[in-house]
Amino acid sequence: MQDRAEIELKLISDPMYLCGARELVGCIARRIGFDDMDCSKIALAVDEALSNIIRHGYNKVFDRPIWIGISPIKPSADSIGGIVITIDDEAKQVDPCAMKGRCLEDIRPGGLGVHIIQEVMDEVRYEKRDSVGMRLVMTKRAPRAEGSPRLSDRKGCAVTSMGSKSSKTPMGP
């Protein structure tokens, strides 16, 4: 069990950096063993989460901090491995239970981000951070891929428990 994400990225809440965050997450997901479509969907989930923070959490203030943490999940007897992504912010805190996708029957612009995240990822959890802001923890399980070695196959790579992480070493200041 490790305390910190294996990769951490801090960025400001400027939409121009969404592409960089997507590229990073997509590349790591590919290395772990996800196929192209899944990599694109995982990157989409991260993009939607960041966009929601920028739009709703920070009300389009573009210089606020956001932290992204990425850890592979090691394949085991009862797990095929995958990726855990945490996104932390210092935005206003909201009830995690209120973070639900809207009804899709109502076709209108906007409000699709949470639905997309929940549809794309296997597990999605919103939490209030201890001091300030929100944390989103997203997990996606990878299919078993033959051939190329996985980042998560290397020795010493441990499954990250985001629950324990949140209480031990939160990202950010």
């Binding site: 592409c19 966009s51 612009p109």
Partner: protein, 116 residues
Amino acid sequence: MGHQQSSFISIDRPEQGVVVLMPTTDIDMSRSPELRTAIRQEMGNGVHKVVVDLDEVHYMDSSGLATLVEAMRNASKSDTKLVICCMNQKVSAIFEIARLDSFFSIVASRDEAISL
């Protein structure tokens, strides 16, 4: 007919009353406002069909979807046909995830979109 290029949207007018907008990069929250503005500007002014050609868009998020939903609504109000074409698999996936694939007129090629 005419051809224009904004910072990332190429605009063609292949026929009288038909305009084709072709974004030339990915569409996310940083780009969708410009796409929204371009579609709004082209709608009306004697245009009866707006084609959005996504051939060079390899990625789109929900802000792009929202822009197109808004454009579709405005098109309906102004008796304009909005057609989307040349969508790749990854972009198509987000329309399916949002269950909006049947809301839009989506065709495979630009020629098909223009002749529809």
